[in-house]
């Protein structure tokens, strides 16, 4: 019988399946961060060891200070970092801690280190674990009880999701990125449009994406309700994975490669749902509201809630009230107070290069910080001189971590401030209490920095051409 990529990955990890259809799955990689303290506390209550410390890797990212790392000033943050150090040391788990030159956001670091590979099952107590699906891995976010379960057993109980395929055919226009593909489909299908499904991305526009772009696309799957994003591995994937520190070498790599060759949906595989998107129709997209589905092309205007249907009208009214926006206003006239370039969604080297290309020789009219996805991305960017482009433009160049995407490390947007952000969630208070977030791609964040308002990056790109 023909199978989807989801089926193949699922079947390869299924230890047993119960009568009610719940599968017990083997976990190849378990990534943990500071938020794991609840899970380690559960193990401690039972006096249980970690079953497979050699398959478990820890990262300091959610609370990682992006400045002043030598002496962590905030005692609450210092406590979170120490707890992670203590828990990982006690269980013999490798830790990419604050002072490790490889430290970074777990969803940047995992692939960068070759911990993420095609065909693996990857879990992490973070909803953006869907990122790793870009490699053709079965990767999904889990809660603290499940983190404790994986630590204790290296397995997880899970019901097989339905299979959905989003095909994006054609070529993306200049200034249009993987971020825009994601915001486009989420705006079309809604934030619960893919709930209960694993989304496999396919089509020529997806094939043409770099691994960085594919990670951005899979990362945002959860914002459309899908716990899993998937892209079948190909030569782009192999080229990225080869020679990564924890990736297989030599004969083992060849064996892996042979296994990976089968990681694609069969030609006649049946999906529960199929969606087609024309890449040429996608414009640089920004959010105007408080959920990622409240997004529009930058050339648009703030919608009139009265023109939307019942539930969405009420949500739009509440969102515009929170965001301090008026129906009918052109998106390009919205002034921003600051910018943030960072997060597991868009802080990889390609993202920084694209933003720097806009900012080079220009000045930012508003303050902002640039937080690379990992300290290795930071080092690479500095080797290329990108840091100087950002600092010459007036932006602050800081260390790696989740930073202003979630505000747990103290990097927050002030109440009422409006931020053009390369992150993943524009929820109320996400970037700080009362913060107003507009999601967009790195080039759009750079363009907003230059003009001090939401701006079609293509205009600035044309000025360069």
């Amino acid at each position: 019988m023909s199978r989807t990529l989801l089926d193949k990955l699922w079947d390869a990890h299924e230890i047993r399946v119960d009568d009610d259809g719940t599968s017990l799955l083997w976990v190849d990689r378990h990534l943990v961060h500071e938020g794991s303290h609840h899970a380690f506390a559960k193990l401690a209550e039972r006096g249980m060891p970690v079953a497979r410390p050699e398959l478990t890797f820890a990262v300091a990212d959610h609370y990682a200070p992006t400045r002043g790392r030598e002496a962590v000033a905030d005692p609450a943050i210092a406590k979170m970092l120490e707890r992670l150090e203590r828990n990982t040391a006690a269980h013999g788990i490798a830790l990419f801690g604050l002072r490790d030159p490889r430290q970074g956001i777990v969803h940047v670091l995992g692939p960068e280190q070759g911990l993420t590979l095609p065909g693996l099952l990857v879990t992490c107590g973070d909803s953006h674990t869907s990122t790793h699906g870009a490699f053709g891995a079965l990767a999904f976010g889990i809660g603290a009880t499940q983190v404790a379960h994986v630590l204790a057993t290296q397995t997880i109980w899970q019901r097989r999701p339905k299979a959905m395929r989003i095909r994006v055919e054609g070529a993306l226009g200049p200034g249009v990125t993987a971020k825009d593909i994601a915001l486009h489909w989420i705006a079309r299908l809604g934030t619960s449009g893919a709930t209960g499904h694993a989304v496999e991305y396919a089509g020529s526009a997806v094939r043409a994406l770099s691994m960085e772009g594919r990670m951005t696309l899979c990362n945002l799957s959860i914002e459309g309700g899908a716990r899993f994003g998937l892209i079948a591995p190909d030569d782009t994937t192999l080229a990225y994975v080869a020679d990564r520190p924890f990736a297989p070498r030599g004969a083992e790599f060849e064996a892996a490669r042979a296994d990976w060759a089968g990681l694609a949906s069969d030609a006649d595989a049946r999906f529960d749902r199929e969606v087609e998107i024309d890449a040429a129709e996608i414009a640089p997209t920004v959010t105007w509201g408080t959920t990622p589905e409240q997004a529009l092309p930058i050339t648009g205007r703030i919608p009139d809630p009265g023109a939307l249907d019942g539930g969405r009208a009420e949500a739009a009214r509440a969102a515009l009230d929170y965001m301090g926006l008026t129906p009918g206003a052109p998106l390009e006239e919205i002034a921003v107070d600051r910018v943030f370039l960072g997060s597991c969604t868009n802080a990889r080297i390609e993202d920084l290069r694209a933003a720097a290309a806009i900012l080079k020789g220009r000045h930012a009219r508003v303050p902002g910080i640039v937080s690379p996805g990992s300290m290795l991305v930071r080092a690479q960017a500095e080797a290329e001189g990108l840091d100087r482009v950002f600092t010459d433009a007036g932006l602050e160049w800081v260390g790696a971590g989740c930073s202003m995407c979630v505000g747990m490390n103290g990097d927050t947007v002030a109440p009422g401030e409006r931020c053009a952000s390369s992150t993943n969630r524009n929820f109320r208070g996400r970037q700080g209490k009362g913060a107003r977030t507009h999601l967009m791609s790195p080039v759009m964040v750079a363009a907003a920095a230059v003009t001090g308002r939401l701006t079609d990056a293509r205009t600035l790109m044309e000025e360069r051409a």
């Binding site: 520190p245 949500a315 109320r428």
Partner: protein, 201 residues
């Protein structure tokens, strides 16, 4: 964790769609240990901003009725802890985000998918009504009407028995060990390469 079969309590309405985990518990509270109690963090920002927040009017409520796509956003189980520690046993909505729903069941909180949740919200308005939930029959009785709850069998069994997955799984220890050995033999590349260790950095 203690299991439960039936619950009776007051239901309160929060008529909003897409209530996300950042609203359920803002991230700044998440470094607290569970023993400190998470109930006070529930909807912290919304409550501070609204003079007349429904949960403050009805602190005795144990059943929350809300709009669709409840619990969207992050995997933070703290969102469930906040609800449970504030005394909630059941959330009724037309739909739930996947990760939230799984986390809820793992903590004895029923994510009750009810097709008529919108009508229940309208009926409740700003008041409360006694609600009765029966896991065995998967029904919700509220305001004189009876509604079916869409309840997967595994969720029912876990909630009723207060099961902890770790105990369930340990019964399969031999199977797991055999699977791990077979995987290591067939696909040794799935174990991280040793030369990725720190000294190579």
């Amino acid at each position: 964790m203690a299991g439960w079969q039936r619950h009776e309590g007051e239901a309160v309405a929060l008529p909003r769609a897409d209530i996300d985990t950042d609203q359920l518990i803002p991230a700044r509270f998440m470094s607290a240990s569970r023993a400190e109690g998470y109930g006070g963090f529930l909807f912290a920002d919304l409550r501070e901003d609204a003079a007349d927040f429904p949960l403050d009017r009805h602190p005795e409520a144990s059943v929350l009725v809300a709009g669709p796509n409840f619990g969207c956003g992050s995997s933070r189980e703290a969102a469930v802890y906040a609800l449970v520690d504030a005394g909630f046993r059941v959330v009724v909505a037309e739909s739930f985000a996947d990760i939230f729903a799984g986390n809820a069941v793992n903590n004895g909180l029923l994510p009750a998918r009810v097709a008529e949740a919108g009508a229940i919200l309208d009926a409740l308005g700003s008041g409360t009504a006694p609600a009765r939930i029966d896991l065995e029959t998967a029904t919700l009785e509220i305001a004189g009407a009876r509604h079916a709850i869409e309840l997967p069998d595994i969720w029912r069994r876990k909630l009723v028995n207060g099961w902890d997955d770790i105990d369930l799984t340990r019964a399969h220890e031999d199977e797991i060990a055999a699977f791990a050995r077979a995987r290591r033999d067939a696909a040794p590349w799935t174990w991280p390469a040793r030369d990725g260790s720190r000294d190579r950095a």
